[in-house]
């Protein structure tokens, strides 16, 4: 058991820290929380800056320990979150890197790293929900193309995306997990209609998507036909395993800010609230240690995060909600001021126990796949 970093890794940290100090002030002003085109521009500008400085591939090809240092330092410095690049960098990118052909990697990965192309996720469907594999969007082979018809929902960043990682049903006769295929669909293809959905936080960050005979080249299929469920499991392991890692550091920073606010307004003197903040400090510290544990484990087993990601995601999503509920206690009536960042974050934290697999689904995964309890409902 070792938690120290090598001299080389510490050197990487020092150079990154120095670069962040110089580069962050050069960023344009942050757009408002509801301005998605503005946020795409802002997020991709940041991605380009990272790329030009040589940090573009840190989410994929860097050793996991270096990735941890990157996430720790960028979050501590208050750098922008991956934002609109989320799906490209943390879901589709790693999946294509692991499962794509050489041509596919050459075509799709560099533009994601440069911030030139933004991806969205076309997995969920209106009638499927947590039963992801029951999706019904159909793709029928016609020569060199698949012709796709159906609809998707909860498609984050669909309005501003260039590509969509899309799950379609290519065999309607096969058992539901077998007939699925993973496609990369260009968002400017004819037949796509995007209708924004307004979240309870007032934001239009995700959308419904209607697909009417959209043609996707067979060459843009990742993995084999009807083998998409396995490819999807690769995507989801990244989603649960690594996509939230940086956020834990951000939560620790928020907790520090919260303690400062509590001291300033006197709520710190309330032992109940103070202890709640103390417990959250223990919680997020442990979650960071669990991250280091999971990363070390995945390093041993070859890169793709294990289902330990479900353990992490379960605990983290609830801790995040508790954090912002506690922030509201510190703020008092100011917690109703929508212009306070913590107010918006409190609202968005409500999605964490639902998105990327609900807590109930994660508990089933932990129970069945780690503990070996029988399947059944």
């Amino acid at each position: 058991m070792d938690l120290t970093y090598t001299a080389e890794e510490e050197d990487f940290r020092a150079r990154l820290r120095e670069w962040l100090a110089v580069s962050l002030p050069k960023l344009p002003a942050k757009p408002g929380p509801l301005d998605w085109p503005g946020r795409r521009a802002y997020d991709t500008t940041w991605q380009r800056m990272l790329y030009d400085a040589g940090y573009g591939e840190v989410h994929w090809d860097a050793p996991p320990t270096q990735r941890l240092i990157f996430l720790e330092e960028t979050e501590l410095a208050g750098a922008p979150y991956v934002g609109a690049n989320f799906v490209g960098l943390l879901h589709a990118g790693p999946t294509i890197a692991a499962e794509g052909t050489a041509e596919q990697r050459a075509r799709w990965l560099p533009p994601v790293l440069r911030g030139d192309e933004v991806w969205c996720q076309g997995f969920s469907e209106p009638d499927a929900g947590s039963d992801l594999a029951s999706l019904r969007t159909r793709a029928v082979r016609d020569g060199d193309s698949y012709v796709v018809t159906g609809s998707k929902i909860w498609t984050s960043h669909a309005e501003v995306a260039d590509w969509c990682e899309l799950l379609v049903r290519t065999d309607t006769e096969a058992p539901k997990h077998r007939g699925i295929t993973w496609l990369a669909m260009p968002m400017d293809a004819p037949g796509i209609t995007v209708r924004p959905l307004r979240t309870l936080a007032g934001s239009a960050e995700f959308a419904e998507m209607f697909l009417d005979e959209v043609r996707v080249p067979v060459a843009d299929r990742v993995g084999r036909e009807n083998d998409g469920w396995r490819v999807t499991m690769v995507t989801l392991s990244f989603e649960r395993g690594t996509a939230f890692v940086g956020e834990v550091v951000a939560c620790r920073r928020t907790l520090g800010e919260l303690a400062a606010a509590a001291r300033a307004n006197g709520t710190w003197d309330d032992p109940v609230l103070r202890r709640r903040l103390g417990r959250l400090n223990a919680e997020f510290r442990a979650l960071w240690r669990l991250t280091q544990w999971n990363v070390s484990e995945s390093q041993m087993t070859g890169g793709v995060p294990g289902i330990g990601g479900s353990v992490f995601k379960l605990r983290y999503s609830h801790a995040r909600q508790e954090l912002y509920d506690t922030a509201a206690e510190v703020l008092g009536p100011d917690a109703f001021d929508l212009d306070r960042e913590w107010t918006a974050d409190r609202l968005s934290s409500l999605s964490y126990t639902i998105a990327a697999g609900t807590s109930q689904i994660q508990r089933n995964i932990v129970a069945e796949r780690i503990l070996g309890l029988p399947k059944g409902r």
Binding site: G278, N281, V311, N364, K375
Partner: protein, 307 residues
């Protein structure tokens, strides 16, 4: 950074598990219950010979290992529900008190449980631990000690005056107690999962029902979060991190035992099922050295001092 057990650490963990499985299996555990939790002197000496108490003493006369290894050993003790003042005797050995390292004498501690002393009657000496200082007293020096009917059948208790800690507890004492809690949490999780696979109701194993499944999943989540916290604290030896680890390990052990009892249903409420032994000991350990409220205050203080 390689935050995983080394091969040597895995071998140590396995060795302790095998020793305890052979020497303190179910029959020995229930015999200990029937004897009021009295320390088995022969077993104590065997633990001493195996290096249980001398683990962190320098290689001349000791094993020469560190806090992470001690944590792994105490986790296995917690898993096996091994009884006796293990942490106190281990600390006495670290402090060079004769007879502690080789397990020929049993040391208990008067300053870990606020006036209650575990295993007072079957210990050779009582150590008062205040920060880094230790004071040794003998049962004959403490005529005012009164036996208390202990809720935990594996931990006999006496009440003596003046057991209130005057200084912050020793970090290693807190962490080793947290390690025992971690082992207990892991054991009740395994036990509940096994029972959920075996026990059938409504024509299927109860582990197939989501309500039961989700209880078991939460037990594992609490255990794994506590494990990361306890192991990391053993590496950093940071007191605030140790306090946080105790907080999470106490919760994992107590909630784990309660959920295990729930999975067992009516059987869980009987004397025959071992789960009550885990729960009672977990409740007791949660009061030892550092309570949840104290740990939370230490964490809050760490937060404030980082500003």
């Amino acid at each position: 950074m390689d935050f995983q057990l080394t091969d040597d650490q895995r071998a140590l963990q396995r060795g302790v598990w095998e020793l305890l499985a052979g020497r303190f299996g179910r029959d020995a555990l229930r015999a200990a219950v029937d004897h009021g939790g009295k320390v088995d002197r022969k077993l104590w000496r065997e633990l001493g010979e195996a290096g249980f108490f001398s683990l962190r003493l320098p290689e001349e006369g000791g094993v020469g290992l560190g806090l992470p290894e001690a944590v792994l050993v105490f986790e296995e003790a917690g898993r096996a529900l091994l009884n006796g003042p293990l942490v106190a005797t281990h600390l006495a050995a670290c402090g060079g008190l004769p007879g502690a390292a080789d397990g020929t004498r049993v040391f208990t501690c008067a300053t870990q449980l606020r006036g209650l002393v575990p295993h007072f009657a079957d210990s050779d000496a009582v150590v008062d631990i205040h920060g880094t200082s230790m004071r040794v007293r003998y049962p004959k020096d403490l005529p005012s000690a009164r036996s208390v009917r202990s809720m935990d059948p594996l931990t006999p208790l006496h009440r003596i005056p003046g057991g209130t800690p005057k200084a912050p507890p020793r970090p290693d004492a807190v962490l080793l107690t947290a390690a025992e809690q971690l082992g207990s949490a892991a054991r009740t999780t395994e036990t509940a999962v096994q029972y959920a696979k075996d026990r059938r109701q409504f024509g299927q194993p109860i582990g197939g029902f989501q309500a039961v499944k989700h209880l078991c999943a939460q037990m594992l989540v609490r255990t794994e979060v506590a494990r990361a916290a306890v192991y990391a604290a053993a590496v950093t030896e940071d007191f605030a991190e140790i306090a946080g680890a105790k907080l999470l390990a106490d919760e994992a052990a107590v909630r784990g035992a309660r959920d295990c009892l729930q999975v067992y249903g009516g059987m869980g409420f009987t004397w025959e099922a071992d789960v009550h032994l885990h729960l009672k000991r977990a409740w007791l350990r949660a009061q030892m050295w550092l309570t949840a409220a104290e740990a939370e205050e230490i964490q809050a203080e760490a937060l404030a001092s980082a500003l």
